[in-house]
């Protein structure tokens, strides 16, 4: 008890003021992020006003994109974006769900599972330009030889090749989230099913998948969001033609790849503005898909 006689608890106003300054600077930084997001959207909207005014809804369903003739119809790109993204989803879902079930239920532990889990996470971390590169030098020749065998024009590049690249790139999103969701299925429900004489496959089909289906769906949405917005890898292998693709083996363009390819040469106000409007549409679509995905996840995890 002697100790306290020698110590005086001193608190200066300076220390209290510091606390206030610290707190308000945190608030300020947080607010500046919010302001940035809104400023970002505002810029997109203002810059795309000229094209919105000049072209209206025709912008969305116009089939011709010819900047030289000042015609801006983005239907080919909308189609290209939807085709590549959904084709990529279709290709990647069997893989990502299998991986999710494998890691979430069959082999949640062990060196192989750890290795696989890290490998999947690595897929998400590789810069997309490397995928583009790999696609150009490995996938394109393979697709070309397939096209030759099928007796169609052997472009090699095109919608299908982009979808393949995208499919690989988006696997981690649905796989990791799916794995988390499958691991969250209560053990007592699985035991209930086992005790009734169900096999592992029956437990997965009748208990685990129904229970975690909204989580699996959210993973697919996040994958879709990623696929819609992916720019670099797609731009490198899609062929960049602004003509409506007649088959999935034709070259095409996506919204993101058009922006990346053409913004440097967009000389006229309307040209630049219509590229920005494309960006605005892409921005809104991916934001909406991400919000829905997050909503589904948060409802599931409650």
């Amino acid at each position: 008890m002697e100790v306290w006689k020698n110590i005086k608890i001193k608190r200066s106003f300076r220390q209290i003021r510091m606390e206030k300054i610290f707190r308000s600077s945190l608030v300020l930084i947080a607010l500046s992020i919010l302001v940035m997001v809104f400023a970002f959207m505002l810029t997109l909207i203002i810059q795309s006003l000229p094209s919105i005014k000049a072209l209206g809804f025709g912008f969305l369903y116009g089939k011709t994109w010819d900047p030289v003739a000042n015609i801006y119809g983005t239907y080919p790109f909308l189609l290209g974006t939807l085709l590549t993204s959904f084709l990529a989803l279709l290709i990647s879902i069997p893989f990502s769900f299998s991986i999710a079930i494998f890691l979430g239920e069959y082999y949640p532990r062990g060196w192989f599972s750890e290795f696989l889990k890290n490998a999947i996470e690595l897929i998400a971390a590789v810069p997309s330009v490397i995928y583009g590169f790999w696609g150009l030098f490995v996938l394109v020749p393979i697709v070309r030889s397939i096209e030759l065998k099928m007796g169609i024009t052997p472009y090699g590049i095109g919608i299908f090749t982009s979808s393949l690249i995208l499919a690989i790139m988006i696997i981690p999103y649905a796989a990791s989230l799916g794995r988390e969701m499958i691991r969250m299925v209560p053990a007592e429900l699985k035991e209930a099913a086992y005790s009734l004489g169900a096999t592992r496959w029956e437990v997965i089909r009748m208990v685990i998948i129904p229970y975690s289906k909204s989580g699996l769906f959210a993973g697919v949405l996040l994958s879709l969001g990623r696929a819609l917005g992916e720019t670099m890898a797609v731009t490198m292998v899609i062929g960049n033609t602004s003509i409506i693709p007649k088959s999935i083996f034709d070259p095409g363009n996506t919204m993101a790849s058009v922006i990346a390819n053409e913004f440097t040469e967009a000389a006229s106000t309307l040209y630049l503005s219509s590229l920005i409007e494309l960006g605005l549409i892409l921005f809104l679509v991916t934001v909406v898909i991400n919000i829905i995905g997050k909503k589904v996840i948060s409802r599931f995890t409650q």
């Binding site: 532990r109 005790s195 009734l196 004489g197 009748m206 129904p210």
Partner: protein, 252 residues
């Protein structure tokens, strides 16, 4: 013995290197309620899960010895057939949350991919719920989700789900530990009815409950079966000192 339905012979159970059930030999008579009791960690739940081969679902869990159901070692059968013949009810009621009451009762058939005609299905559901003493309470809401029921009702639903498969033995792992006293007594009363058709093995850490519901009691301590006798004898005149210590509350 003529009416022995289940017989354990030198039965061991392990988690990795850790032996939790040691050389258990026991003859379970048919149409009886058998209570398995003992202090926490004595291996009683593990022993129970060894009977229908649920123990081996845990990673690194193994067993040795024999578990004879009607003279046939369950460890020579496929676990799926074993679990058809030996039903199980767990500590916490676990009806399938995405299924209705009706679908929960026939979940065993659905899970096993057995197709049954609607009229037969209706009969199975009604009779199972009646046997589980739940029919009168739920007959008007069969297509509501099972998770809307009270804890005791959910547990009886789980019993109905287990007996819908027409098992020979029903294993109950502390089935009332998550229930309030009224729900507990509703389940206990039910056990008396059920033993007409099934052999029941119930793990409990509640001695009063063992006294109320069981014909015979097995006392486990440190993984060993210490004593197995008529419940009445066990409580009035235990042969082993450890049983006596447990019953008189000298350790828990």
């Amino acid at each position: 013995m003529e009416n022995t339905i289940l017989k354990a012979v030198d039965f061991d159970a392990f988690f990795g290197d850790n032996q939790v059930v040691k050389k258990v030999n026991i003859d379970i008579p048919k149409n009886n309620v058998i209570a398995v009791m003992g202090p926490s960690g004595c291996g009683k739940t593990t022993f129970l899960r060894g009977i229908n081969r649920m123990h081996e679902l845990i990673e690194g869990a193994t067993t040795k010895g024999k578990m004879l159901l009607n003279g046939e070692n369950v460890y020579d059968l496929h676990p799926i057939f074993v679990r058809h013949k030996i039903g199980m009810v767990f500590q916490r009621p676990n009806p399938f949350p995405n299924l209705s009451i009706y679908d929960n009762v026939i979940a065993g058939y659905k899970l096993n991919g057995m197709k049954i005609a609607k009229p037969d299905r209706d009969v199975i559901v009604e009779q199972s719920l009646q046997k589980a003493a739940l029919w009168n309470e739920v007959k008007d809401s069969l297509h509501k989700k099972g998770t809307f029921l009270s804890g005791g009702q959910q547990q009886r639903l789980c019993i109905a789900r287990a007996i819908a498969m027409e098992p020979e033995i029903l294993l109950l792992d502390e089935p009332t530990s998550a229930l309030d006293p009224i729900s507990t007594s509703s389940v206990e009363v039910l056990l008396h009815e059920l033993k007409k058709n099934y052999t029941i093995i119930i793990v409990t850490h509640n001695m009063q409950q063992a006294g109320r519901v069981s014909d015979k009691t097995a006392f486990f301590y440190m993984g060993e079966l210490i004593e197995f006798d008529k419940t009445k004898n066990m409580f009035t005149n235990p042969k082993d000192e450890r049983t006596q210590n447990y019953i008189t509350g000298r350790f828990s």
